[in-house]
């Protein structure tokens, strides 16, 4: 393959909260969790069997100090997003709701061939969950 994505950052205001959410609530697995001192922690997660990692990037680690407050505000205001696909959207959604996750959109069938829903991760990122709609026949 000539080209592939290896790591995509998800900016988080609290890494431990983010890690618990993405692993315990959604089923991601930790690839690497490497403490590198107070200013850095290399924390990557992946879907089971998937080579593409999400880099859980703490604002306090991955953003220069001069820009941290601005980045923290951007994340918290809720305009950054992550898109993931799940096998059983309604089941995942209901377990997220039962865990007290902030809900943005109940599951609905979309005209372009997926059923999707949306929640907030603990940092305020818009997490969009989708499941391909079964093809007819």
């Amino acid at each position: 393959m000539p080209l592939s994505i290896t790591h995509t950052p998800v900016y988080c205001t609290d890494l431990d909260e983010a890690l618990a959410f993405y692993t315990q609530q959604l089923g991601f697995e930790v690839r690497d969790d490497v403490p590198m001192g107070p200013e850095m922690r290399w924390l990557t997660i992946h879907a089971p069997g998937d080579a593409h990692d999400l880099l859980l990037a703490a604002v306090d680690h991955h953003i220069p100090s001069a820009d941290r407050q601005a980045m923290r505000e951007i994340v918290t205001k809720g305009d950054l997003a992550v898109f993931i696909q799940v096998d059983d959207l309604d089941k995942t959604f209901e377990s997220l709701r039962a865990a007290g996750t902030e809900i943005l959109q109940e599951p609905i069938d979309q005209p372009y061939g997926v059923r999707d829903a949306a929640v907030r991760d603990p940092s305020g990122n818009h997490l969009r969950l989708s499941q391909p709609l079964a093809t007819q026949g």
Partner: protein, 150 residues
């Protein structure tokens, strides 16, 4: 722009109130109800919301309703009146004037445009991009821009 006094915890409350607007735009929401979602007094909420999101809560709600109306009109199978009621407006007159002010053309004219280029874009992105005043240009300019590039 928001000022330095806006704390991150307060921004999370404001975000929850904005999420409420985005979710329940079709209900008769008012500023006190929105402020309760943000755990603030109505006057503080209105001020802080504007600092954080660049619009008044009511202005944001109107823009959200118009943006949803645009999505329903693009489907082509609903009348302007049905769309008006579906997104939370109670009078066709105020819907038409608000829509025209934000979008730059009346709902019936917008409905008649060719919107086929937007079908591959997830609705949440169309929504962010097409939201009136989200970007400096009205959405119809954006669609004209896409057509020009084809």
């Amino acid at each position: 722009m928001y000022g330095p006094r806006v704390e991150v915890a307060e921004l999370a409350h404001l975000r929850r109130a904005r999420d409420l607007l985005d979710r329940e735009y079709a209900r008769p929401l008012n500023v006190p109800a929105m402020a309760r979602a943000a755990l603030m007094s109505p006057s503080l909420f209105a001020r802080r919301f504007r600092e954080a999101y660049g619009d008044t809560p009511y202005g944001y709600l109107q823009a959200r309703r118009v943006e949803r109306a645009m999505a329903l009109l693009r489907r082509g199978d609903m009348s302007v009146t049905d769309v008006c009621l579906a997104v939370g407006f109670t009078s066709l007159g105020s819907f038409s004037s608000t829509f025209t002010r934000l979008v730059g053309e009346p709902p019936s004219v917008y409905k008649a445009r060719d919107h086929s280029r937007l079908t591959r874009v997830p609705p949440c992105m169309t929504r962010a991009w097409a939201r009136p005043r989200w970007v400096a240009q009205p959405c119809r300019i954006g669609e004209a821009f896409l057509a020009d590039r084809a």
